[in-house]
């Protein structure tokens, strides 16, 4: 009920505990591998640079580059949409 009233007056938006949980999970994964989100971003830029020497990639919102935790193991998961292969000359 209180939640509803909060929403009505535009103060609550979604419950802030969801924000807290998401941010915390994210932080713990990054702490575990000792790589800040900022460094991950930098790595993404560098990797995209290398990949784009071989294939034409689309670096937009559909590019995924995240650390995920699965059964205690942290994995770097990335999904980079490829438009087409760049000509060989450019690759060498």
């Amino acid at each position: 009920m209180k939640d509803l009233i909060n929403r009505f007056f535009g103060r609550g938006q979604k419950a802030s505990k969801e924000d807290a949980k998401q941010r915390l999970k994210f932080l713990l994964i990054h702490d575990q591998v000792d790589l800040t989100p900022g460094q991950l971003d930098q790595m993404k830029e560098e990797i995209l640079e290398v990949i784009s020497r071989y294939v034409e990639v689309e670096a937009d919102e559909s590019t995924r580059f995240v650390l995920e935790k699965d059964e205690g193991q942290v994995a770097l998961v990335s999904s980079i949409p490829v438009r087409r292969v760049v000509q060989r000359a450019k690759a060498s």
């Binding site: 007056f9 802030s16 924000d19 941010r23 000792d34 800040t36 900022g38 460094q39």
Partner: protein
């Protein structure tokens, strides 16, 4: 003239980091060029309270070890013009930095900023020594509890031993209803024991928890009474002497809560 202020308490968990974050934002909103420095190496948290954790690439230890320039490590807070964060390292320990290195770092930050706010780690060892090394003065955060006040007293002594001027006090987590009922020490009780000047009293409030959940310091919330408390403390930090005390009473009870929901009922000011 630029100055460096260390926010310290001795005891952990009294709200040093929250205080540093909110004062930093409030001072920037007053037009100051501010750097908040997280000196809690190994247990970085100021970034999370400010909601800037996603933007860290370099930290204080990188700067000190010469792996990057200061400018590369400073994170600009886009919500408050003039505010920057220098994050702590998360995987090193307090011995990665010496007081001399901190002094040098603070001196450099002063060249480009008006106020350097240092968030001191809990305890009285190396981390404390590093945090006070470059400071021109200290702000002590305490809560109305026996343990916190005892540690504050110890820290006041250490601040004086470090040859800093008399520190100023912030009383945090204040609960007016409990004071009214005689179950919590009031402002006068605490000042009688610690005998240092008061910068302000900050009420214990749910807003603090919500703002920490979201990574949005409560001073950004115009309607929050805690935000208002921090805004007034910030004005006093800049040397303003006629900032009225905040009256907490009006915001208690159903009516106050209802008014706040509607974004009405700003805190009433009473003369000191």
């Amino acid at each position: 003239m630029s100055e460096c202020i260390v926010v310290t308490s001795g005891k952990g968990g009294v709200g040093k980091t929250t205080t540093t974050a909110n004062l930093g934002v409030a001072l920037a909103l007053l037009g100051k060029r501010v750097v908040v420095v997280d000196a809690d190496i190994g247990l970085r948290n100021l970034d999370v309270i400010l909601g800037l954790e996603n933007r860290i690439v370099y930290d204080l230890v990188h700067v000190i070890e010469g792996e990057c320039r200061i400018k590369q490590a400073l994170i600009r807070d886009k919500r408050a013009e003039g505010l920057f964060l220098l994050p702590a390292a998360q995987t090193r320990d307090k011995n990665a930095v010496t007081p001399d290195q901190m002094r040098e770092l603070v001196a450099k930050l002063k060249e480009t900023h008006d106020i350097i706010l240092v968030d001191c780690p809990a305890g009285i060892e190396q981390g404390f020594k590093n945090a006070v090394a470059g400071a021109d003065r200290a702000v002590i955060v305490t809560t109305p509890e026996v343990s916190a006040i005892r540690d504050a007293d110890r820290i006041i002594g250490m601040v004086e031993a470090a040859e800093l001027p008399e520190p100023q006090l912030i009383i945090n987590r204040f609960r007016p209803a409990m004071v009214e009922a005689g179950d919590m020490m009031n402002k006068e009780d605490i000042l009688e024991i610690l005998a240092i000047p008061l910068l302000g009293v900050v009420p214990d409030h749910e807003d603090i928890i919500v703002s920490a959940n979201r990574g949005v310091p409560v001073v950004f919330d115009e309607a929050s009474i805690v935000g208002e408390a921090f805004r007034r403390v910030a004005r006093r930090v800049t040397g303003e002497t006629d900032v009225p005390e905040l009256d907490f009473e009006q915001n208690n009870g159903i009516w106050g809560t209802l008014m706040r929901w509607m974004g009405l009922g700003p805190a009433r000011e009473v003369a000191r």
